[in-house]
């Protein structure tokens, strides 16, 4: 079920252009990632809304292909 880091990164970059994205493979098994996204898209959104946006953009990847993703999101102001 794991996903390659590059693939995950491309997916997120594609949905969140002009963002600062940091991805870390926590366990080295392509299945436990830490993802940080700083983007102006998040400005004015609550944390829940920010995370929901990320989950939605990953289109059901969570739970199917990806076991664990630590998520941190931030607006640019």
């Amino acid at each position: 079920m794991p996903i390659e880091q590059k693939k995950l990164e491309d997916l997120i970059k594609d949905k969140f252009p002009n963002s600062t994205i940091t991805i870390e493979d926590l366990a080295g098994d392509n299945d436990h990632y830490s993802v940080q996204i700083e983007s102006d898209i998040f400005n004015g959104l609550s944390r829940i809304q920010q995370h929901q946006l990320v989950y939605k953009s990953l289109d059901g990847l969570m739970d199917k292909e990806l076991h664990a993703m630590q998520l941190k999101t931030k607006g640019t102001k």
């Binding site: 969570m62 739970d63 941190k72």
Partner: protein
């Protein structure tokens, strides 16, 4: 996935009957997943009483709560019928003090250990 009305009612009853409620894997004493473990430890530290549902015991709830909250992962925290977030958000809120603030604002008794 469609949310069955019986499942929806079950969820609404759980989060309605408990001021603080955690959907998790396992239970607070024996969490069955690292994220659920962190989430329940955060709540325990605030000293609040909280209800929980072990989603591993009920697949309808396990899948239903994801649709209900529009949130793909477990654990999920509800405070006074309101979805607060998952493990990462709880961690951030606990670190910044926002979680205690939220509990206090909602009139829920905390006792930080």
């Amino acid at each position: 996935m469609e949310l069955e009305s019986s499942t929806k009612e079950q969820i609404e009853k759980m989060i309605g009957d408990n001021e603080v409620f955690l959907f998790m894997k396992g239970n607070p004493d024996f969490p069955m997943c690292g994220f659920s473990s962190v989430a329940s430890a955060i709540l325990k530290k605030t000293g609040v009483e909280f209800g929980h549902c072990n989603v591993l015991d009920d697949n309808n709830i396990r899948e239903g709560i994801k649709t209900f909250s529009n949130w793909p992962t477990i654990p999920q925290l509800y405070i006074k019928n309101e979805f607060v977030g998952g493990c990462d958000i709880m961690k951030e809120m606990a670190e910044s003090g926002e979680l205690l603030e939220l509990l206090n604002t909602k009139g829920i008794k905390t006792e930080v250990s």
